[in-house]
Symmetry: C2
Subunit: 510 residues, 2 copies
């Protein structure tokens, strides 16, 4: 079954670059269509250790709009999860309609290991798989698009890969004693896997076997398969809808305003000196230096994170900043150094109705992770004193009160032992204009630019004052703000990583 | 401080009956207003063991519309909860705006016990109370109405009460070894409690000390205090709104249709024989016999539940039935025999937007409780094959598929060891008409009767067929349906209780 995934197929760097650009654009377009569709997408990765399951999840997070992607690592169940029927945690973590959920092993984890280690006999094993299929069927019947990728490596290739990973300080955390144990049992694993794939590859939830030896090949393969399945389904749905509407013509999309039209929205500065003036926007890093320090910081962070995980130290990171200040890029550089299984990125947009019916801090409390995990907030509770203040979504009384509420919330985190990092990414209005223009011209970045971004720009001065007040009132000893000079992305990324490293070093050494 | 709560105040049965009826009506009216208001109500009960905290929660659940009341027992934290900052679980369990949350001890639990048992010194204790106050302040600032009741008993009265409870097989589970241990430390407890009440009784979250010796007195006292606070706040909000609207006149409420107008909606029977024809609606129980058997079943159930709790056996009960078939009354008789701390009643109404974005079973999975708890669904996943089928909310394909999905879901529960009970409460259309008329005439029952109830009546025959199919397809060996003759409420309640007792006896004896 796996012969075709041991052919040693490769994609050259140059080819990869070109195909990746096309793929990203197409994926983003499909994802945009998905948001208006009535089904969720469930993508599951399983396979041989070292064949790139975790990396693939990171890659997709980078390609897609992360606001509508949920990563569900799902390792061993927690005690609370064990107290409930087995599938409770999988149900709990399903993506809503219009979104994509990325799952690692998930409901295949226990059946596979239990059978390889002979904890289940053949009868029970088949029953486990029946349950898996019933679950997938239920979801598919409701419209879910399900794709399952088996990431494969030959036995020799796996050995080579594990050895290579172990030698790389940045990747070392990916290799555990278990991995080697599993490698010695390679044939058992592959035998059981074969049975799983044969039994559970259904029309509604097919398995795709992907050769994992070459990162470029495997990334494109997964991405292209996802794109194809997604586009097919979207076309189907559109066709069905067209038939349903019969002759009713679709409304024409409004013409997007061009950057030039919008440029009339001039930036109005506050004119008052603010704490942002202290940020040296001239700070720069040469590419070579960037690459060296980035790699070094990532290597250290990956070691530290491993340590923190063992010591049950949680991390919470808050990213705020101007539109296009580079939050996404900085977050990606961080996530790469962390174990995807224990990181959760929470993009904060408009609240759901359940959230709206609660205190505004409720939706942040609910996302706090279990011990040893990392939670990254892309925008955060500071929205209350930034956008909600500037746009008058919150009353003056409300946002003024929020400073104390936020300080109290953050001290709860820090008292609990959580490492809290807060970053404001600062750029000049001129740099922002350059980036907006660039986004408009790069197809796969275009989705990032909205009318709102232009409107926010016209309120630059008000935001300056809001940021100033925010830093003044919420940069506390236990939870200081880090103002990051962002005109140079290299400088910003490295500074953020090195800040996290320094903070974590202190926490881990305690 | 507690002298005024040891006066031995009593309310006679006759007086109680009369004042209770008035109170219930007024509470329901206030609750109706609350639903349109923009704040949540948080009611917290703490106090001396045996002073009636749990009973008070049950009483309020009986008086109010349980659809908008959340009971939050909150004992010791689970491992998942311990992995997060202390207040995470309290945040998680807050009621949304327009609803009432009933909390037992909650955030006062640990500070009180820790200090009584000398695990915290004075400084840490005060810090704990500061955190409590900051939390309450945060909620109050956002508009939450907070009431805290300290249920008090004198030392002698507590001894008498605990002894009496112990002698009663139905109430025995309420008394633990800890209770007696605490009684011997009575003076320590009262000393610490006094300090807590003094420090944390703020204008926004005041404590009310309630004499707990006489159940009638204490119920009315709590109910009347709640009513007063709620009405005052609602009046305030209305006044503020009136000022805001200035001269704009309120829309007149539509005239409620009288029962007679609606009676024209004739019941149309299906004409086909259904499984419901097998239910003997003549079944009756005399009052004496009812009281004896009810009491006996409740006593057994309370013992069994205690046992089940120790053995980590969970229970899930499903109540379906015609409108006014007596689901609420039956559920109350069940809940009374159970430890309020481990029971969760989930009224199923329209889904939230987070729920709507998922598979229809998702919202039931999310409510499954931890081990040893009881979850009661007042209406359930069967809505899919009942109301959603009859009203065409689900397509034929969807509701037909649902039978298998439901069977699969329920086998997951049963496999996990959960005791699952499913009841269809059956009444004749004539009995329903009688009850509707009665509801219209009893002020505190009027809220139960809606236009929808009348509309459903006109579709009696369609529902008959839907129920028939439901029973045929989902009454499985592992999860059988119990069709309960409900024209006589006594008969229905006793039958339900005895059925649960029989099921649980089997599970506990395993």
């Amino acid at each position: 079954m796996f012969e075709t995934a041991e052919l040693g197929r490769k994609v050259s760097k140059a080819e990869f670059k070109q195909r990746e650009a096309e793929l990203r654009e197409a994926l983003l377009i499909a994802q945009g269509r998905l948001r208006k569709a009535s089904f969720p997408v469930i993508v599951l990765f399983a396979g041989v250790d070292g064949a790139g399951k975790g990396e693939m999840v990171n890659e997709l997070n980078g390609w897609l709009d992360p606001h509508y992607v949920l990563t569900r690592p799902l390792g061993d169940p927690s005690p609370e999860e064990q107290e409930r029927p087995k599938y409770w945690r999988f149900w709990r973590d399903l993506p809503p309609k219009g979104q994509i959920g990325l799952f690692l092993s998930a409901w295949y984890h226990a059946p596979l290991l239990d059978h390889v280690f002979k904890r289940t006999k053949r009868g029970r094993f088949d029953q486990d798989l029946d349950e898996v299929m019933a679950f997938e069927q239920t979801l598919a019947d409701d419209g879910a698009l399900i794709l399952k990728f088996w990431m494969h490596l030959g036995k020799k290739a796996q050995k080579k890969r594990l050895s290579k990973l172990e030698k790389d300080p940045l990747e070392r955390f990916r290799v555990s004693k278990d991995d080697w144990k599993h490698w010695r049992m390679y044939d058992d694993f592959v035998g059981v896997a074969e049975h799983i794939i044969m039994r559970t590859s259904t029309g509604q939830a097919p398995w795709h076997i992907v050769e994992g030896a070459d990162a470029n090949f495997r990334s494109l393969r997964v991405g292209e398969l996802l794109l194809e399945a997604l586009t097919d389904r979207l076309d189907e749905e559109d066709a069905a809808r067209t038939i349903a509407l019969e002759t009713k013509a679709p409304e024409p999309e409004p013409e997007p305003k061009s950057a030039k039209d919008n440029m009339r929205l001039e930036v109005v500065r506050s004119g008052r000196p603010t704490v942002l003036d202290t940020v040296d926007l001239e700070a720069k890093l040469a590419k070579k230096e960037y690459q060296r320090r980035l790699r070094e910081a990532q290597a250290t962070l990956s070691r530290q994170h491993h340590e923190a995980r063992k010591k049950d130290i949680s991390m919470v990171m808050v990213f705020e900043g101007w539109d296009a200040a580079g939050k996404g890029g900085a977050i990606r550089r961080l996530v790469t150094a962390l174990d995807a299984r224990s990181v959760n990125t929470i993009p904060i947009a408009a609240p759901s109705d359940e959230e709206r019916a609660q205190h505004y801090l409720w939706r942040f409390w609910r996302h706090l992770s279990r011990a040893g995990r990392v939670t990254i907030f892309d925008r955060s509770w500071y929205g209350r004193v930034l956008v909600e203040r500037v746009e008058n979504f919150a009353s003056e009384k409300e946002w003024r009160r929020a400073y104390a509420e936020i300080n109290d919330f953050e001290s709860r985190l820090v008292e609990h032992g959580t490492v809290l990092s807060k970053f404001w990414l600062h750029i000049s209005p001129e740099e922002q204009a350059r980036r907006f223009a660039e986004r408009e011209q790069t197809p796969y970045k275009r989705w990032k630019l909205t009318e709102e971004d232009w409107r926010n720009r016209s309120r630059w001065g008000e935001y300056e004052l809001a940021v100033h007040d925010m830093v003044e009132r919420t940069s506390t000893q236990c939870a200081p703000w880090h103002l990051i000079a962002g005109d140079d992305k290299y400088h910003a990324r490295v500074t953020i990583l090195e800040t996290v490293v320094a903070q974590l070093a202190e926490a881990v050494s305690k």
